[in-house]
Amino acid sequence: MSVSENISTIETPKKGKIKTFFSLLWSDQFAFFAAVFLILVLTSVIFGPMLLDYDAGRQNLRGRNAAPFDFTRGWMWFLGGDQLGRPLLARVLVAAQNTIFVAGGAVMISMTIGSVLGVIAGNSRGRLGQFIPRIADVIMSFPSLLLAVIVLYMLEPSVSNIIIVLAITRIPVYLRTARAEILEIRERMFIQAAIVMGASKFRIIFRHMMPMLLPTLLTVATLDFAFVMLAESSLSFLGIGIQPPDITWGLMVSQGRPYLTTAWWLSFWPGLAIIFTTLSLNLISNWIRIALDPQQRWRLEIESKKND
């Protein structure tokens, strides 16, 4: 309890920020490997379609459902071939881009809109503060499947429109989180101090409230990222999601589903990619939560000391 105050005044040798970051990351091995995996995913997001688009798309009907771990056909066939004779490894790597774009785009958009609305709702004591949460209620009870059908009927089924669908459905999450946080933050003493100093509403929101809100929103966003990825694959399963020739992991899993008993690898690898990505995100978000929380942080630091 009172010990912490004592400690915080002790001068510490300044470790580089990056080095601290890595030692904190290394101290949670789960999170470390999660980070490594996410970097791999990110690499394939950036370079996958650039390098492998042709291989991933080239079909060969007579060589379909090639079994995995066959070393004679080169590394690209290591994970086997799909139902149209395309190398699965290349497809998984290429599909990373759309998958991450869909999830990332939806999360980004819903986070932006949701938190803007939530911040407005949290800051206004009048009608608006009452009205905005109702929007969240309505969106939450509006079935996402119907929304998907409406949007995709009026627009075209494409990656960007799927993003719109998923983004709309996720707005309430951020709206509610942001509003609840703001309601709490606005009672904090340093907000009052800023008011006393004459800070404008704008300044209070962006300079004082947002930095407090952001970590919470980011934690929610990481978890939501996983959720959106799974939701996208569910939409594909129901036939109203992304459609070929676009590919995502979710689509690959749902397309491979009929072959589950005859060629398990079709849905297994992309499924594994989804699991690993969501798992990594969850682990990383756990780690971030601990690393950002001064009351929890020591757990990591003790570990990192041990490892030094």
Binding site: S141, F142, P143, S234, V253, R257, S267, I275, N282
Partner: protein, 304 residues
């Protein structure tokens, strides 16, 4: 208290009306059921006859006012597909969804609270790490994939449980298990973090100074304080389940409202879509009010 309930009910009613208007007009943007319902080579005459029978030939506003007028006497219209009152169709399906949701939520809550609390008691311990890790893996897998693998393994391979359908208690095991996994992971995480907060609260120190046993510290002193966020997240999950577990219902042939809704959407059976949204939204709003009341029961500091 009564004033609070009234206010909440009124707000919910407004939301519900909003929803009806939005769904009514938006769903009609997705096309005409006539083409879907009749064979592709049906004549123009039979198309027109169909539209007339179902009132689709009238201007949209007239359709809407007719709908609202009927709704005022709780007539939700008739299902085009099933030639029955839409409400009957929905309630029949909702019964299944409700059972499935209640059983699953009961088990999830029980399990998540027990495992989450134990994980929180020794943060970073072996139990904590494993509980977290496995709950995350389960929650990260696409559920349709898990469902089919489960059928292949447990029904076809091992023959322990029937593949699908309803009927005996055994039939419920697989769908409930699959439905269990994702909310379990999520609620477990919330229980864990909420319990960590509660267990580090000052009153826990008092309880320890009193000599209270570990079990009583966890489940009596900390748990009740930690319940509020847990109930919130359970409420969210329940809302999701009440909207229908589409995937599980589809794969396991469970005649729930989720499958009904997706089918009706794809078939443009508007009155069923509207009725199912209204029924589920009504129940969800009701549940939210109950949750707010439950807050006040659990935490005496909350008064409305």
């Amino acid at each position: 208290m009564n004033k609070f309930i009234l206010k909440r009910a009124l707000a919910s009613l407004v939301s519900l009306l909003f929803l009806v208007v939005a769904v009514f007009f938006l769903s009609r943007l997705t096309g005409d059921p006539t083409d879907l319902y009749l064979p592709v080579d049906a004549s123009l005459a039979s198309r027109e006859q169909f539209r007339k029978i179902h009132g689709l030939d009238q201007p949209l506003m007239v359709q809407f006012f007719n709908y609202v007028r009927d709704l005022a006497v709780l007539d939700f219209g008739e299902s085009i597909r099933r030639a029955r009152p839409a409400l009957d169709v929905v309630l029949e399906a909702f019964k299944w969804t409700l059972q499935l949701a209640l059983i699953t939520l009961f088990l999830v809550t029980l399990a998540a609270i027990i495992f989450g609390s134990l994980a929180a008691f020794r943060v970073g311990g072996m139990f904590d790490r494993f509980a977290t890790f496995f709950s995350l893996i389960g929650a990260s897998a696409p559920d349709f994939w898990l469902a089919i693998v489960a059928i292949v393994v447990f029904s076809v391979g091992l023959g322990w449980v029937p593949t699908s359908g309803t009927g005996t208690m055994m039939h419920w095991i697989l769908p409930v298990t699959i439905l269990f996994i994702r909310p379990f992971g999520l609620i477990l995480q919330v229980v864990r973090s909420s319990m960590i907060t509660a267990l580090s609260a000052a009153y826990i120190k008092t309880a320890r100074a009193k000599g209270a046993k570990a079990k009583s510290i966890i489940f009596i002193h900390a748990l009740r304080n930690a319940l509020l966020p847990i109930i919130t997240v359970i409420g969210d999950q329940a809302a999701g389940m009440l909207n229908g577990a589409v995937i599980v219902e589809t794969i396991f042939g469970f005649p729930g409202v989720g499958k009904l809704m997706i089918d009706s959407i794809l078939q443009r059976d508007f009155s069923v879509v509207l009725a199912s949204i209204m029924v589920t939204a009504f129940v969800i709003f009701l549940m939210n009010i109950l949750i707010d009341l439950l807050y006040a029961v659990l935490d005496p500091r909350i008064r409305y």
